[in-house]
């Protein structure tokens, strides 16, 4: 009976442990090492294969809810591009907060690279509703989908956009995604229009992206915070100059976030093992009694 009660542990006790495991590593940073997995290495290598001056699209397909997972990916991807001299077209397809995330992250990263010129090295085209329809239409004409940039400048007056009219003028799209928009980049844009796609989804939706990765409908995958921390590591190793940015005190990075995730994982593993030990102890006991 006592074992029964232990097994049916009040969920609030579990929540308490998880809360402690979340808060403590934020206060006391551990700095756990990061190992690289093949999907992230693929994404990084694909970006490294690009030449300076190439143009890619970075699509902000997430909102503030998943920003702790997606924002470090966006930052690492933008820092990678600007360190390598790749030009970036930023768009946002996620309705609630996608645009704000795009503006905030871009402003943050651009401030770290003072030589960049808006409209030449990067541009923010802003938000467009009807993600799937917009994605289809961009294959015909990006200028019709985004007639102006986020500041209201007509797209024809932006030097970078004079060179880019359709997906054919882009080398790649990097989508930071929550929900289905990331999948549309793989199964619609890549499958139908052939644009190479890298997706950085939240960890909870990462498993299904493996199917697209294996089918070569994606050029790389950054699964959740773990993927983001790996990409950060790879970018830092290749461009040590960025250490000045990542060493900024108080800056939230995926590598720091991974401390929390690792500890909470350990707590969950401990609870699962505990539950099973209690379960087996309970199973053995009646047999003894019999």
């Amino acid at each position: 009976m006592n074992l029964e009660r232990i097994m049916q542990i009040d969920r609030r006790i579990v929540y308490l442990f998880v809360a402690a495991g979340t808060i403590l590593p934020i206060v006391f940073v551990i700095g756990l090492p990061v190992s690289i997995t093949p999907p992230v290495q693929m994404a990084f290598d694909r970006m490294e294969d690009l030449d300076p001056g190439d143009v890619i699209m970075v699509s902000f397909d997430y909102g503030p809810s998943s920003a702790p997972e997606n924002a470090p990916m966006a930052d690492a991807a933008l820092r990678h591009c600007f360190s390598k001299g790749i030009r970036v077209i930023v768009i946002a397809l996620y309705p609630l907060g996608g645009l704000s995330e795009a503006v905030n992250e871009l402003n943050k990263v651009v401030a770290e690279f003072p030589d960049l010129e808006y409209g030449v090295d990067y541009v923010n085209l802003g938000y467009k509703d009807g993600a799937q329809a917009a994605m289809r239409k961009m294959n015909e004409n990006i200028h019709e989908v985004f007639p102006t940039d986020v500041r209201g400048t007509p797209i024809s007056e932006i030097p970078l956009m004079r060179e880019v009219r359709t997906y054919a003028d882009l080398e790649l799209c990097f989508s930071l995604a929550t929900g289905i928009i990331g999948e549309w980049w793989a199964n619609l844009v890549n499958a139908q229009f052939g644009l190479p796609v890298i997706v950085g989804p939240t960890a909870v939706s990462a498993p299904k992206y493996y199917a697209y990765l294996e089918a070569k409908q994606m050029a790389g995958l950054l699964g959740g915070l773990k993927g983001a921390s790996e990409y950060e590591r790879l970018v830092l190793d290749k461009y040590p100059d960025l250490e000045r940015v990542y060493a900024t005190p108080g800056l939230y990075t995926a590598t720091k976030g991974m401390d929390v995730q690792s500890i909470v994982h350990l707590i969950m593993i401990a609870f699962i093992l505990f539950g099973n030990v209690v379960y087996f102890t309970g199973k053995r006991r009646p047999r003894k009694a019999a």
């Binding site: 809810s65 609630l96 289905i180 939240t202 909870v204 939706s205 990462a206 498993p207």
Partner: protein
């Protein structure tokens, strides 16, 4: 596992797969043996001598052709050429020039770096003729290719590279429509038991007996998501039962289009059940377009009102576990269903019954027992069988280094 698994005629699938695979074989053979698409523009070899024969002058491109871009809606010509040897080392750039006739006034269209040997010139007028030249440039040195024969853009009526998709579509639609048409005459079609759908009546009855609410959550996606339509079909059934039992049904919505459709579905169901008097507008309500604000509202409702039954059927994302675990914590009987594979584990853990993938789409046929709807499931199962056989065949042949099945299914 196919849903309707009792197939009396064993040779039918085998014959069908032969029929299905045959066009793929022909297609792959025709693709392999196709002449290059730019046959309409004849080739003119460069008149400029190769660079290595003239000191200081870059080599001209060779084999320049211009032809209507195939499989497009018109308005573009594709220009192709062969790069001279060592183009990258020389740092060549190519300037593509266009004129209305071979001897006409050439104007620059674009400039490309070494490594490129193709350019699609878009925004042209269908039916008008265009000629092209390509200049190879290194520093001040320029070599000019001869002009191409005139090429004129035109719109095409079929994307040949999607022939395999069309064949698959026809095989699939054909088998579904065939079994639908047969369904009225044939014996009742067997469909395996789906526990989650069998539990629908019981779940509605339980809520009625307890005098508590039934919460129906039709996913968070819009009506262009087919899972939402499947969910509305089940909602229609649940609403009819609720009308019959006079149960308290509530449908909170995240998407405005789904909201408008769900309201119509419930209204019609109450009308059909003969109880339009029981229908109230607030039964189907709109909450917010934001995923997590919606989740907060619905989980709050679960905790405060403690519904007896929760239906979580449709397309769900990160909110799936938040909704299902909240429902579980208040002891509601929960029937879930989705085709979102990443969310299925959460539903399986926290719900009593889960409709997995295709079970969701089979629900309307299962619940209504309409022969024509059941027929469509049999047709769908036949295609699935064909795909399984093609998959098996593909794996075996691929193991022996024969790739035609894989190539035949490749989407371009």
């Amino acid at each position: 596992m196919p849903i309707s698994s009792r197939n009396r005629v064993c040779f039918l699938p085998l014959a069908a797969i032969l029929l299905a695979v045959l066009p793929f074989l022909l297609f792959s053979a025709s693709v392999d043996g196709q002449p290059p698409p730019e046959t309409t523009g004849s080739t003119l070899v460069s008149e400029t001598p190769p660079a290595d024969t003239v000191a200081g002058q870059p080599p001209a491109v060779e084999g320049l052709t211009a032809a209507d871009t195939p499989d497009d809606e018109g308005g573009s010509v594709t220009v192709k050429w062969t790069e001279p040897a060592g183009a990258a080392e020389l740092g060549l750039t190519y300037r593509v020039m266009r004129a209305d006739s071979p001897d006409g006034q050439y104007t620059e269209v674009c400039e490309l770096a070494a490594g490129e040997n193709e350019f699609m010139d878009a925004g042209l007028t269908d039916g008008q003729q265009y000629c092209y030249k390509v200049f190879s440039i290194v520093g001040p040195g320029t070599a000019e290719s001869g002009p191409t024969a005139p090429a004129s853009p035109r719109g095409n009526w079929f994307r040949m590279y999607r022939l395999n998709a069309l064949i698959l579509l026809l095989v699939f639609s054909g088998s579904v429509l065939y079994y639908i048409s047969r369904a009225r005459r044939a014996k009742p079609i067997y469909i395996r038991k789906i526990a989650g759908l069998n539990a629908v009546d019981e779940a509605v009855g339980r809520a009625t007996e307890m005098g508590k609410k039934i919460l129906y959550i039709p996913g968070i996606m819009s009506i262009d998501e087919i899972q939402t339509i499947a969910s509305l079909a089940i909602l229609g059934h649940v609403a009819r039962l609720s009308a019959q039992y006079n149960a308290d049904l509530e449908v909170p919505n995240k998407d405005p289009l789904t909201f408008a459709s769900a309201r119509e579905t419930v209204k019609e169901a109450y009308l059909e059940a003969g109880r339009p008097d029981l229908f109230r507008e607030e039964m189907v309500n709109y909450v917010t377009y934001d995923q997590f604000a919606y989740t907060a509202s619905v989980t709050g409702k679960m905790v405060r009102e403690r519904p007896a039954t929760n239906f979580l059927i449709g397309s769900f994302y990160a909110e799936s576990l938040l909704l299902a675990e909240s429902g579980q914590s208040v002891g509601a009987i929960q029937i879930s269903g989705t085709a979102e594979v990443a969310q299925l584990p959460f539903f399986v853990v926290a719900c009593d019954y889960t409709l997995i993938g295709e079970e969701l789409y089979a629900a309307s046929a299962y619940l209504s027992r309409e022969p024509v709807l059941l027929g469509s499931i049999k047709g769908q199962d036949l295609t699935k069988l064909l795909l399984m056989l093609a998959l098996g065949l593909g794996v075996i042949l691929e193991s022996f280094g024969v790739a035609f099945v894989k190539d035949a299914f490749r989407m371009h």
